[in-house]
Amino acid sequence: MLLKLVRRPEASRSMVLLSPLIALGLTLLSGIVLFMFMGANPGQALYAFFIEPLTSLYGWGELGVKATPLALIAMALSIGFRAGVWNIGAEGQLTLGAICGAGIALWLHDIEGFWILPLMILFSILGGMAWAAIPAFLRTRFNANEILVSLMLTYVAILLLSYLVHGPWRDPDGFNFPESRVFNDSATVPIILDGTRLHFGWLLAMAAVAGAWILMARTLIGFQVKVIGEAPAAGRYAGFSINRIIWFALMLSGGAAGLAGLLEVAGPIGQLQPTISPGYGFTAIIVAFVGRLHPVGVLLASHLVALSYLGGESAQITLNLPLAVTGVFQGMLLFFLLASDVLIHYRIRPAASVAVREL
């Protein structure tokens, strides 16, 4: 071993902020290698991936559209992760939220009214919460691992959506395509920037992030989340209830994911389809970590990762690169981040070579 790790006496605050930048740099470098390997000109590819999507107002709008579900879900997941509650089934909660909200839109499809969208939002949040309540209940009551339960429920939710759009909720005038009716205007999220698809949901996401900041920095429940995540015994000693925090974390992330799902189907998509998310629920895990599990970080990271979705699409169109490159980029970003995070708690020193000279 040429290098060794020396533990820092206390965590380095500057490395907490620098580490995502190091990770981003390493991801870009690996990206260049990856593009060359795939026979693309790295300069062109990087341009197509990271610059081109932002050369138009529409592109900036799309950035917000993609960042909205990521920010909403990652904001809530990061609070859960800080409490040591590993909800990785946000994709399923997103799907259930979309189903519940869309149920209202389809039920009231021939009625107009300003109250329809708020009702859909309410039901989407309740739907996401209900789906997250299953792992919360099973964890607090039977100690069943929430990682596996929430993940299994994701497969179940996606199958449920598939059943609905193939069966009872299929558009009667839709030529047998597996899709629901298109939502009417009262059931659609309003656009806030003309000439783009940027919708009201983006403002909701930003407000949620600000709320999460206050929650974590200044309130008792935020304090409890931090204590229980880091030292459960200290939490018990202080009189905090671990089960209450598990419920809180799962309800918050279930609700946020449910809302994110509704904003997708009642926003850019406008109807229910078999696939309503390119894995936002999973990608939000990356966003949460890259954002340092902190609301401000999540805000920045959600837009950065949103860019990787746009970049993938743009690289596919202009350079004919496979769309799957996006997933590889996102995975690499998280790997490099986890690797650079070692520098928060450790310094890297050359190992003292024990040279015993023998004559």
């Binding site: 299953i134 039977f142 299994m152 429920l153 179940v156 990356i286 496979p322």
Partner: protein
């Protein structure tokens, strides 16, 4: 009888990938490492194996490639969690996300390509016994290998000194380090074994179970394998039983769909996932049982500064 033998045979093919993945993960967990990246390693193993057989035509080369791909993926996990002290949970999730993306990228040109599947290797004489013969002695190489590996792992853990050391490292890494065992080296080897097994599980999916490549073809089997390890309370023979139980559930719902029992196919497809939740709840209710059997150091980082 006409339908029974083929049904039992399909159960074996459905159980085999779960068995490989779960037994590998169990060994890693016995050493104190929780690797949530099984799904990602399986997918990469599947795509690499399929690409190899597509380009070389050699099933042996394909199986080996799958093993190396899985082990290579797990090596990333090992370097990050053991060398760079990253969180095992976060790194395992990252491995799954990365593996999903990487396999989709690598498999881009393989979608729609066909392969005949691994050849059957009937064992002479034995395979001709009525009923039992076709059921037990007429399989492809990987089915035999999965059983051999279960027996090997059971023997290794129970009766060999390295197996004892592996269990000791998972029980208390501080004590093992104090006595002078190389905790990180032992864990890294266990992680590699887990990765190799996940890789072979993936290879089985794309070479034998449904010989083709589709994105995300593991469909959560890596996660079910993780649940199986808990269900088996870290005991080898129960992993075997659990894998076959889940193989059975998967096949029964498929048959029910074919027969057409009047329940929508999506609802039937949900069954293995719901069964996983049920099984987890049943086993987790008794926390003392889990605590008694779980490796005490599971998921905990170790940094040897003495």
């Amino acid at each position: 009888m006409e339908i029974l033998i083929p049904t039992l045979l399909t159960i074996i093919t459905a159980a085999t990938p779960l068995l490989f993945a779960a037994i590998g993960e169990m060994v890693a967990e016995k050493s104190g490492v929780l690797n949530l990246g099984v799904e990602g390693m399986m997918l990469v193993g599947a795509v690499v194996a399929f690409a190899t057989v597509h380009h070389t035509g050699s099933a042996t080369a394909a199986i080996l490639a799958g093993i190396f791909a899985g082990a290579g993926m797990s090596a990333i996990f090992g370097v990050l969690t053991l060398g760079l002290q990253s969180s095992q949970v976060a790194t395992g999730l990252a491995l799954t996300i990365f593996g999903t993306g990487l396999s989709a990228l690598l498999g881009q040109s393989l979608v729609g390509v066909a392969y005949d599947g691994l050849p059957k290797l009937p064992i002479p004489l034995l395979s001709e016994i009525p009923l039992i013969g076709p059921l037990l002695f007429n399989h492809d190489i990987l089915v035999y290998a999965s059983i051999a590996i279960v027996i090997g792992v059971a023997w290794f853990l129970k009766s060999t000194r390295p197996g004892l050391i592996l269990r000791a490292v998972g029980n208390s890494h501080d004590a093992a380090h104090a006595i002078g065992y190389h905790v990180l080296k032992i864990r890294f080897l266990a992680i590699l074994f887990g990765g190799a097994m996940a890789g072979i599980a993936g290879a089985y999916l794309s070479l034998a179970y449904s010989p083709l490549w589709i994105e995300n073809m593991s469909a959560g089997r890596g996660w079910i394998a993780l649940a199986l390890v808990v269900f088996a309370t870290w005991r080898t023979w129960r992993v075997l039983a659990g894998a076959y139980l889940f193989g059975g559930i998967t096949i029964l719902q498929l048959h029910a769909q074919v027969i057409g029992v009047g329940i929508p196919s999506q609802m039937m497809t949900m069954l293995p996932y719901l069964a996983t939740i049920l099984v987890l709840v049943l086993i987790s209710r008794d926390q003392n049982k889990i605590k008694r059997n779980a490796p005490a150091c599971i998921g905990k980082p170790f940094h040897p500064t003495a």
